[in-house]
């Protein structure tokens, strides 16, 4: 723990002995108050609501387990969970793979002094800073089904038929995933970039001496060294994607039908459109349980030394 002790100072420290003491409570008070008031107590209350029949309109305030049972056995819930699974799985996979690929190219580009490396990095980051709602609106313009839409007019230029990007139930999920990968990739890129920079160059020299080709260097040096960073990144982007709400509501609103109604949107609609507070609370607990479960599963794959 003691970082900065020089022999001369030790004697003085013994007398004053102050810097290691003190009550942190006062300093932590504002943080504890804010988190308690706005996180812990509300979460506790969501647990309570889940066992009632409350609505946003009336008082109906009886404790019951029927809401829990009815909500979890709703016929559409399976479809919602499947949509959420596809959306989250495809987005996370896409962001992780693309983020790593871009980071690798950026690192290589910096080493070989390729032109445009910085520009690529900055452009990806700009997409990431775009607020979710605005991102949804921008992609809605690109996916415009009319022949003059941002993608359809390119297809027309190439002599292909226009696509119904957002109104065809079979296509819409992939459109939403692409839009989400566009916005989220930069985060993975930044994490992967930092992790790549932290790999000891000696490992690569050793691999070269042993005659490893670039592909072998990637699979036997780079990937194992990145393992912890990839796992941490997966935890973070999975939770971010599960909680994604603004980008979906502004791009498709969950439609057509229920084709892109992810769990967060379904929960929102349950509470604030159907006014069913209790059922919405059950669903939000389900969201919480999924996030925690996935985080724990990923954490098991962390290398031993970075687990503590």
């Amino acid at each position: 723990m003691n970082k900065a002790i020089t022999p001369g100072l030790t004697a003085v420290r013994a007398v004053s002995a102050q810097p290691r003491q003190g009550a942190p409570a006062l300093w932590l008070m504002p943080l504890i108050a804010v988190l308690g008031l706005f996180y812990l107590y509300p979460v506790f209350d969501v647990f309570r609501y889940a066992f009632t029949d409350m609505t946003l309109l009336g008082k109906g305030d009886h404790y019951t387990v029927s809401t829990l049972i009815n909500t979890l056995t709703r016929p559409e819930l399976f479809e919602i969970l499947w949509v959420t699974f596809v959306f989250t799985g495809a987005s996370v996979l896409g962001q992780q793979v693309l983020g790593l690929a871009v980071a690798l190219v950026v690192v290589r580009g910096e080493k070989r002094r390729l032109v445009g490396t910085m520009l690529l990095r900055t452009t990806a980051l700009v997409a990431w800073v775009v607020p979710g709602v605005a991102g949804g609106i921008v992609w809605k313009m690109l996916f415009n089904g009319a022949p003059f839409g941002g993608l359809n007019s390119i297809l027309r230029l190439l002599g292909m038929a226009p696509m119904q990007w957002l109104s065809d139930p079979d296509t819409v999920m992939w459109s939403v995933v692409v839009a989400n990968i566009w916005r989220g990739t930069a985060f993975s890129m930044v994490v992967m970039y930092a992790a790549l920079k932290a790999i000891d160059p000696v490992l690569y020299e050793a691999a070269s001496v042993d005659g490893a080709n670039p592909l072998q260097r990637f699979f036997y040096v780079t990937l194992p060294q990145l393992r912890a960073a990839i796992m941490v990144n997966l935890i973070l982007i999975t939770i971010q994607t599960l909680n994604t709400f603004d980008a979906v509501i502004s791009l498709t609103g969950g439609g057509p039908g229920r084709a892109t109604e992810v769990l967060s949107l379904y929960t929102f609609n349950m509470v604030f459109r159907n006014y069913d507070l209790a059922a919405g609370s059950v669903l939000s607990l389900l969201m919480l349980a999924i996030s925690m479960g996935l985080a724990l599963i990923y954490a098991r794959f962390l290398p031993m030394e970075s687990r503590s």
């Binding site: 970082k3 020089t6 100072l9 003085v12 004053s16 102050q18 003190g22 942190p24 300093w27 932590l28 504002p30 943080l31 804010v34 706005f38 107590y41 509300p42 969501v46 609501y49 946003l56 580009g109 070989r112 445009g116 520009l119 690529l120 452009t123 700009v126 800073v129 607020p131 979710g132 709602v133 605005a134 921008v138 809605k140 313009m141 415009n144 003059f148 941002g150 007019s153 230029l157 566009w182 930044v190 930092a194 932290a198 912890a228 960073a229 941490v232 939770i239 603004d246 509501i249 967060s264 929960t267 929102f268 604030f272 507070l277 939000s284 919480l288 996030s291 985080a295 962390l302 503590s308």
Partner: protein, 280 residues
């Protein structure tokens, strides 16, 4: 010679991939800009008029001169800066305490703080909406600001703690020998020395506040109190294909402040963000 050739081939593939990625990341924004600069007629000409023949700034003038949009922008600026300041006021003392005080299970505390990220804002908004409605705090910037602060404070505390960890503790000790108490060490030494950390935490919080949608969407329904994130969503709902160019201009207006804020401190922000993620 052989390896040099190999590297050249690698460069070619790198450039190809970079070009492809550039196109992917930049195309939506290029398209947005192209639409925003067009007149009504050129909207229907698609990509053939990527560079409009008759570019116009009318759409921007229309957006920026509408009092409605001006109010959205002012509200967003107010909410995001006030909440960022509030967030620093809460996070700075906590970060200092986590960095310097002897605390049992400090690692667990810090991980616990991080795990707040797992809780979707939607989960806490369900009860918060009820509380706020019952004490008449909906339709109020104060209520929204408080929620923003709570949402941003875990990350901000992490970033600031990382920064304060980098300031040698011998400085604290020397100052205390000279008679400073904890508070004056914090005020006179730690705060001035962590300006870069404070700046990046501030900007990250401002950008997060600017992008907020769910919280103001639920708590504010009065048009003149809405921040831009909600305003543009409502506005988009009332538009159709014949006014795409105006919506595009509105989108640019809502996006540019966040981008500028980010680019101005890009290096600092990235450093602060990755410190947490890579340390794990």
């Amino acid at each position: 010679m052989k390896s040099e050739n190999q590297a050249r081939i690698g460069d070619v593939f790198s450039y190809l991939f970079m070009a492809l990625m550039m196109l992917f990341f930049a195309w939506p924004l290029i398209w947005l800009l192209s639409l925003a600069l067009r007149g009504r007629k050129e909207i229907y000409l698609g990509v053939a008029r990527l560079i409009p023949h008759e570019p116009t700034l009318d759409n921007f003038t229309a957006i920026l001169s509408s009092s409605q949009f001006a109010a959205y922008l002012v509200n967003a600026l107010k909410l995001s800066t006030l909440s960022a300041l509030g967030c620093l006021a809460v996070a700075l003392p906590a970060a200092y305490a986590f960095s310097r005080f002897p605390l049992k299970g400090k690692g667990a505390w810090m991980m616990g703080l991080l795990s707040f990220q797992m809780i979707s804002p939607l989960v806490i908004m369900i009860p918060l909406y009820r509380y706020m409605a019952s004490i008449h705090m909906t339709e109020s910037h104060f209520g929204v600001t408080m929620v923003y602060i709570a949402l941003a404070v875990p990350t901000a505390t992490w970033i600031l703690k990382g920064f304060i960890d980098g300031i040698p503790e011998s400085l604290d000790e020397a100052a205390m020998i000279d008679g400073c108490n904890r508070f004056s060490v914090f005020w006179r030494i730690i705060l001035p020395l962590s300006t870069p950390g404070i700046a990046s935490a501030f900007i990250i919080t401002v950008i997060a506040g600017w992008s907020q949608f769910l919280v103001p969407f639920l708590l504010i329904t009065k048009d003149n109190l809405m921040p831009i994130g909600v305003g543009i969503f409502q506005y988009a709902g009332t538009q159709n294909d014949s006014s795409l160019q105006v919506l595009a201009a509105a989108c640019i207006v809502s996006v540019v402040p966040a981008i500028v804020a980010f680019l101005s401190l890009q290096r600092l922000i990235l450093g602060a963000m990755t410190a947490g993620a890579v340390k794990g």
